[in-house]
Amino acid sequence: MLRIVVLAKEVPDSYILDAFAFSGRLQLNPETKTIQTEGIATGMNAYDEQAVEAAMRLRDAGVECTIQVLSVGGIAPARLFQRAFALGADEGYHLVDEGFEGADSLSFAHILASAIGHLGGADLILCGRQGSDYDQGVVGPTVAALLDMPCISIARDVQLTSPEVARVIRVTPQGEEIVEVELPSVVTISNELGPPRYPTAMANFAARRKQPTALTASDIGFDTNRVATSLARVSKSGIAIPQRQGTCEIIEGDNPNEIATKLAQALRSDGVI
């Protein structure tokens, strides 16, 4: 039985957030140095949903497996886990403790690694390539380093060639790369995997009757002093909406040829063509 653990993060809905940013309605809170999230729903990071989907595709391919979803903290964790269950996760673990508050990236990885250890380890750890909120992409590699596993990033396909080896197709800017990695391993999933399955009404209904198991720091054997001592390492000191040039010159003309000529002249005088 292959033990698959999916690491999931609750994030603001990236479509709503993009729409806010598009229309210049995104508000910042300078006190907390965060965005104002009123009117922006939260849910499972889309890349992490695809990680659950990657696990389900292994199951569809005949791999006997358990799929456990882990998530730390959050505002509305029930929604995240419901989504995870609807997509096919067997078990959910909500890691929640006052001592986790303000954890930096590495403390976060320690919390996840402790929880995985507490649950009896994993053969394959899947997570999204990055959170759609902070875009850091550090969870996969840091958890791998702490558990002494290899980490294969930006995968669009994960298969097992044997119970001990996964074959992963990565999508790199230079093209595709196929790697074989010994398990246990961490694999991070990119959007090229494709959208997750659409849960059936039955799956949604069943998901509503499932609950995640809550685990505290002491449950998983995590020393919360680690969070306290690492607080000052990388700390947010400011937040801003990026300045735009706002100096766009619209090239006007009566017909395409006239506009093309004017634009070409402008680009030549700028020395870029």
Binding site: S14, L17, D18, A21, L28, K33, D104, S105, L106, A109, S132, D133, Y134, D135, Q136, V138, P141, T142, A144, A145, P150, C151, S153, T172, P173, Q174, G175, E176, E177, V179, V181, E182, E192, S230, A232, R233, V234, K236, S237, I239, I241, P242, Q245, T247, C248, I250, I251, N255, P256, N257, I259, A260, T261, L263, A264, R268, D270, G271, V272, I273
Partner: protein, 332 residues
């Protein structure tokens, strides 16, 4: 220089060369070092022969180049390169580690931070000193819709991934007589658990090195129209790019995707054709020198970033502009 702080730039031998992003990162590190009275050193990990690359760094004013060479570093794999880099970090004892955020660097930086048990920040586009003397990094969050500033502790040294795209041209760098400091990578007993079975080797220039990038978005209407994008890019001596939307639709390839989850580009000329400017796209091109936006919607965010805008349907405009560029080429 006893007591002086050291900024260590982490790079790799990338197919027998140092990628252009390495020099952008060195420039950013040097700028920070000037303000803080620090020195800048670099580490290169790679197969044997990598130390020949050190002179390129001497050429931009970096005198101490730590080099770890080992057969386990022949391929761009995060684990072995991290361990070798870790050995160099221990030897150099820096106050800040700046990782060139290449494809490998993206995985290496967090792996390294976990091994060093220190703070980690990725996607930094600017490094600076704040009024109280602390080191700060600016990095885009929420797909580039927001900029966050982070203060980085120097003890233990933080690891920061530097995202080229900030365009750090450094004219002040003078060549120095440098030295190579050999690093024992400690990889003799390394057991590699990853096998690269197949790797597409793109020949020719990469998107992030192109002087001109012409990108198409859904506004081009139909996949067959992407040929205009390719034709124009070729005419201008550049490469064709694409928005994530049309890559997802299969109109263009992943290698052509410009943006947060694609390639970050900083060309002299960036033409966004039929692209509205989702923040994830803007993230990948907003540092281009001259940006031209062609989009029928004058309210599209891309125009806030553009130097020149055309609000005509791109399918009417493109053929005319291609003709115009042909005329320029033939000198008529």
């Amino acid at each position: 220089m006893v007591g002086s702080k050291l900024i260590l730039v982490v790079a790799q031998n990338d197919n027998g060369r140092l990628a252009p992003v390495v020099f952008d990162t060195v420039a950013a590190a040097r700028k920070l070092a000037e303000g803080t009275g620090s020195a800048v050193a670099a580490v290169i990990t790679g197969p044997s022969g990598s130390q020949a690359l050190a002179q390129e760094l001497w050429g931009v004013g970096v005198s101490d180049v730590y080099v770890a060479e080992h057969t386990a570093l022949d391929e761009p794999k995060p684990e072995s390169h991290t361990l070798a880099t870790l050995a160099a970090v221990r030897q150099a004892n820096p106050s800040l580690v700046v990782v060139v955020q290449s494809l490998l660097g993206r995985d290496l930086a967090p792996y390294l931070a976990a091994k060093m048990d220190t703070g980690i920040l990725m996607n930094a586009t600017e490094l600076r000193q704040n009024s109280s003397g602390a080191i700060e990094a600016v990095c885009p969050i929420y797909g580039g819709g927001v900029l966050a500033v982070y203060e980085l502790s120097e003890s233990p040294p933080s690891v920061v991934g530097f995202q080229s795209g900030a365009r750090n041209t450094d004219e002040s760098s003078n060549p120095v007589d440098g030295r190579v400091i050999s690093v024992d990578s400690g990889l003799d007993d390394f057991r590699d658990r990853v096998k690269i079975v197949e790797r597409s080797s793109t020949s020719g220039p990469l998107l992030n090195e192109a002087r001109v990038v012409v990108s198409g978005g859904v506004g081009i209407g139909d996949p067959s129209n992407y040929r205009y994008i390719e034709e124009l890019a070729e005419l201008l001596g550049g490469l064709p790019g694409a928005s994530r939307a049309i890559v997802d639709l299969g109109w263009a390839t992943k290698a052509q995707q410009v943006g947060l989850t694609g390639t970050i580009v900083v060309p002299d000329l960036y033409m966004a054709i039929g692209i509205s400017g989702a923040s994830q796209h803007l993230f990948g091109m907003s540092s281009s020198k001259v940006i031209v936006a062609v989009n029928t919607d004058p309210a599209a965010p891309i125009f806030s970033y553009a130097r020149y805008g055309v609000t005509m349907n791109c399918l009417e405009f493109l053929p005319a502009f291609i003709e115009e560029c042909k005329k320029i080429q033939t000198g008529s």
